[in-house]
Symmetry: C2
Subunit: 689 residues, 2 copies
């Protein structure tokens, strides 16, 4: 049997399993009528956004797909044009399906989690939230693997291409996935933060009503935002990681053909496939003991997945990579270790228990300015240890691979390490989706006026969700970083350049432009949030003005209009930064050619990782500094407790508001940008040569 | 006559001219007794800081000098050790002398400017401020040139070395200059912002007294800060630019020996020397017409300098660079053009007349958080055009040089462009020092209770000073960027590496670490300001508590103690970031070797330029957004004027406070860091090979 049937079969099995999970979730009891009403509004808003978003993305994708085809056709590479163009559209389609289905489950699960909390059943609530999150996690990983494996089978078994040519042909699939991910994350990120900021500024600050208050016309838009940003956005991000990094690893595997033949090309996919099984088992074992911190239960599940992934790594390398397999197993372990290190580091920089967040808390004592400075200092500082971890992993995996004695074994070592890191992706994504689901459940409980005890359960779950969201962002940056080297090694192979010599003027210019793009893109993403928030603020003010009954509770606000306006705004404002992200590298490659494009890619990646770390973790730290002050545990330098509604708290709120578009819009969009640049240059390499 | 006597002679003439200027300034009439008293306090504070600062720097320099010597001696390169170690100490000494003397004049000029304002003589006030600023500008450029030229004469004429070996030998001088510059800028930057923030937070916010109020114990420390940060710090920065970039250009000149012999090596110095004359003439022509905007007068002077520098460039290239000189003249013009473009771009991003500052002003309407987000977006965005300008200049200068047909002519073209940009350095520095001098004059007028009319004159000059400070920072980043390529080309020549291949794992790791260092260093610089400000806040609170008479005006605050505490704090807190800036690149070079060190250097430079642009210009834009609101010209979206003491103004003050350590500590320290990394790697290249 051809071993490509492992990933093919496992991904189909994974999809079936996720269908079973969907049925389980659907069968779980609905909540009260009040809950269902709120949940329906969220669901409709989220679906409406996603439909319009994917329509916009679809149009853009078709335009780009045709453009790819035409460009190749005009340069006389008709066949490459057809192959790349269709692979691109296929990748975009699969990513869209995975994102849409995954999110549909999440927005159905939220009211059921609320209902479980209403029954005071913490374990059911937790399991429901995690398993619904896992649906998206599994679908994303499985569909992305299925797409790659199917294309591979098509070209080798049906069209009888040499297996060594196939990875180059299917890079279009990865580019399609990155393309969708960029806009999904950008659009979702803009939506979620614009709605959040808009709802807060008019609701909390101007009208003085609490968060998630049903009188706020933007409250549903805010709850919708959690789904479309975190859930759909991150799903698309991981979809493209799995696809692009597998294909990149397969391209490097080609270099090892003399040693391992087709096995070298397919090992990355096989690790991914068995990793999916490890993740599924991890998810299914999670169970919270009475009164235990739910985070502990989630961590246990993660460790189960990691342990199984270790076993997977051993058996796969041992079965397919000859007698030198132990070196590659070691490289894979480096990747698994890095996923743990990144989770720890993220926790250190964003948890209130440690120095960094406490520094921000103390900074809040002297007002918002010192809070901001402290937060930025923490953000800048927190690049150091992760970069050292990345450098160490890269060096370790490379040296282990090199020690195998296989030609290009070093590069392949880094590829295996990346696959190791990605092998628990489905679990991580389940944890990530846990965040918006529990957040929504909390909102539903709040808006439907449930009891305090119910609220306590959802609040505990929501707090855990905040932590998991931060951790998965750390994981996403880490995997992007580890994958980066693999992806540009693949680029240099495809573009047939042996070196990327920074001491040449065009390459250095490419490098400068690459670094610049990251800053420009971040600026545009931040500005898009501000603009879109402006529309919502206007709309909420208008509703309050024209319907004075809303504040007295006698008139219902028009949630739908707020959702519509946010949707339209987010979609309009995502286009410009997205287009810039594509035009700048293409222009660089066309003007300064392939080696300069490589310089662009590498430095953009480095700067992108740095800025993503700054944005994600400064944002997380600001958030938790505010939460710590709200918990009433902060005693200031004069010995006074400074809790909610003090000036210290107000200062911390400023930091949190600044951090929001950092950690939920610009930061996550940067992970995707990095990978988009890799797949983009891979696909267009022939034009730059 | 050996042409090295041109720079030697001109630099000595420049020094004599600056002595004459000092006498002129000294002869200018003193102000009232009240003014003299305040001025004396500032002078003593500044001198005390500088003495202690240079003592600390001296000790560190001697330690490092010995270390350099020992390291070389141990690796068997005894002669190189002696040469490099002494050149290093000589460079550090010259930089110290230039910094100290220049600042002494500035702190003597402030009360004389105040006196001229008191006589309602705007023209005298402006000329005094500019010419006193020019003393430092001329001394810095002349001494740095003198040092390089003297060493060159020593090695060629006295010790009879081959001229081609000399540039490599004297790189130690540049490293010494960078080393002093790093600590001068860091220490001064920490001092100035810690004193500013400390004085504001306790004085303005807690006690509710206006800025520069004599009852504030930290007011003298604040005025001292302007001198030690802007004046001494930036002086050391430009000293090292002139030194390091001349030496770098000379190293590239060696490659052109077959064409131009010694002339190729010395042309950079000669351009610098004649540029000094152009700058001096520019300074001396400045004269303000009655009631004209003083900025116009300064701009006229700058254009005079630029026009003369153009002529200089033409005659020097024509006289020394053979029949292909027109290409190099063109490259030089690229450098001069870039200095203008950078001045414009900085103005666009930091002047209230244009979109960026207006965006921050509008962001302030909805509170401090949106002000901060808008400011950061402006900061991130403002990297784009400057980077494109740098790329275009680099490419243009390289292509022009290459077209000359001379071997390595392209690189030499970039060197000539850098020299072109630097040829007006003395004028720029005079404008820069104009800032703290007029700022101080304003403070003195305020504290000595002069008339409103006097105050108006100093306020107008102070506003101009704020603009010139922003422009010179733009100029400093631009020159650092243009010089960067020249300096690492010099490094690759010294380290004898032909390529810097980013696709090798160690080089890529070096590159990542280089990018990371910039962020870490920025974090440490910001934190140092916060820490030091904390000491001052405590001290001011203590004085208010223990001497209740201060607030009633019956008791005098202890200014000296506040100055002492700031001094000690700034010096203690500058050491750690400074040491990190040296240890990280050295460790990278020793572990991963010469090519990785080059990758480190290049990516650190790119990221450093990006972050310096963000920090300088976001800071400047925040500052001017606040000033625009204070001017009472801002009409909000509801049609209401939002001036001083409104919540909109309060939001803008938060942005300004965040921007202060950005633009006056971290940003300027980054320019210096970039150049320090170049000279450091140049000096240690033999150890990395």
């Amino acid at each position: 049997m051809n071993i490509v049937y492992y990933p093919l079969g496992i991904s189909i099995a994974g999809l079936l399993f996720s269908l079973w999970l969907i049925r389980r979730v659907s069968a779980s009891p609905e909540g009260t009528e009040g809950m269902t009403k709120v949940a329906t509004a969220i669901r409709e808003g989220a679906r409406a956004f996603l439909r319009r978003q994917y329509r916009t993305i679809g149009i853009l994708a078709i335009v780009l797909g045709v453009l790819i085809f035409v460009t190749y056709a005009f340069t006389g590479k008709f066949a490459v044009g057809v192959q790349t163009g269709t692979a691109f559209l296929f990748g975009a389609l699969c990513s869209g399906i995975a994102g849409f289905t995954g999110m549909s489950v999440s927005v159905r699960a939220n009211s059921k989690v609320a209902a479980a909390a209403d029954r005071k059943d913490m374990n059911s609530a937790l399991q429901l939230a995690l398993r619904s999150g896992a649906v998206s996690g599994i679908m994303v990983t499985a569909l992305s693997m299925l797409g790659v494996a199917a294309l591979y089978v098509l070209y080798t078994s049906v069209l009888h291409f040499d297996p060594r040519e196939v990875p180059d042909i299917i890079v279009g699939f990865g580019f399609g996935a990155s393309f969708v991910a960029l806009f999904a994350q950008l659009g979702g990120g803009i939506y979620t933060k614009a709605a959040d900021v808009g709802a807060d500024l008019v609701g909390k600050v101007e009208a003085g009503i609490p968060e998630d208050d049903p009188r706020n016309p933007a409250v549903i838009a805010d709850l919708v935002g959690d789904n479309v940003g975190d859930c759909a956005g991150r799903g698309a991000d991981i979809f493209e990681s799995t696809a692009a990094e597998s294909i990149g690893a397969m391209i490097l595997g080609v270099a090892l053909y003399p040693f391992f033949q087709e096995k070298g090309i397919l090992v990355p996919l096989i690790i991914n496939a068995f990793g999916l099984i490890a993740s599924i088992i991890g998810v299914m074992t999670v169970r919270v003991k009475s009164n235990e911190d739910p985070m502990k239960a989630l961590n246990r599940g993660f460790y189960v997945s990691l342990a199984l992934a270790t076993a997977v790594m051993f058996f796969v390398t041992q079965s397919f990579l000859g007698k030198e397999y132990l070196w590659f197993f070691g490289a894979g372990m480096v990747g698994l270790a890095m996923s743990m290190v990144f989770v720890w580091l993220t926790q250190y920089y964003t948890d209130h228990k440690y120095r960094p967040v406490q520094e921000i808390v103390r900074g809040s004592e002297t007002g918002p300015a010192t809070n901001i400075i402290a937060g930025l200092a923490v953000g800048f500082e927190n690049t150091a240890l992760p970069i050292i971890a990345i450098a160490a992993s890269l060096f370790g995996a490379f040296k282990l691979g090199e020690a195998s004695g296989v030609t290009d074994g070093g590069l392949f070592g880094t590829a295996i390490a990346t696959m190791g890191m990605l092998s628990t992706a489905a679990y991580i994504l389940a944890m990530d989706n846990f965040g918006p689901i529990t957040d929504n459940a909390g909102g539903i409980v709040e808006m439907s006026g449930a009891s305090d005890e119910t609220r306590e359960i959802t609040e505990r779950l929501d707090a855990v969700g905040n932590t998991t969201k931060a951790l998965t962002k750390g994981y996403a940056v880490g995997s992007a970083a580890l994958a980066a080297f693999l992806l540009f090694s693949a680029y240099t192979k495809v573009a047939k350049i042996d070196i990327v010599d920074l001491s040449k003027v065009p390459v250095f210019i490419g490098a400068m432009l690459g670094g610049m793009l990251v800053f420009l893109f971040s600026a545009l993403a931040l500005r898009a949030v501000g603009k879109t928030a402006g529309y919502i603020i206007e709309e909420v003010r208008r509703q309050f003005r024209e319907k004075p009954g809303i504040m007295q509770g006698t008139e219902k606000p028009d949630y739908g209009r707020a959702v519509d306006i946010t949707t339209g705004g987010a979609l309009r404002n995502m286009v410009f930064p997205g287009v810039i992200a594509i035009v700048v590298p293409v222009a660089t490659g066309l003007i300064f050619r392939a080696e300069a494009a490589a310089g662009f890619l590498m430095v953009a990646t480095i700067v992108g990782i740095l800025m993503a770390l700054v944005m994600n973790n400064a944002g997380g730290a600001w958030d938790n500094a505010k939460k710590f002050i709200e918990s009433g545990k902060f005693i200031d330098s004069k010995g006074v407790i400074q809790g909610k509604k003090t000036p210290v708290h107000a200062a911390a709120v400023v930091g949190d508001t600044v951090g929001d578009p950092f950690k939920d819009t610009a930061g996550p969009s940067l992970h995707v940008l990095i990978k988009l640049l890799s797949t983009l240059t891979l696909v267009l390499a022939p034009l730059f040569m």
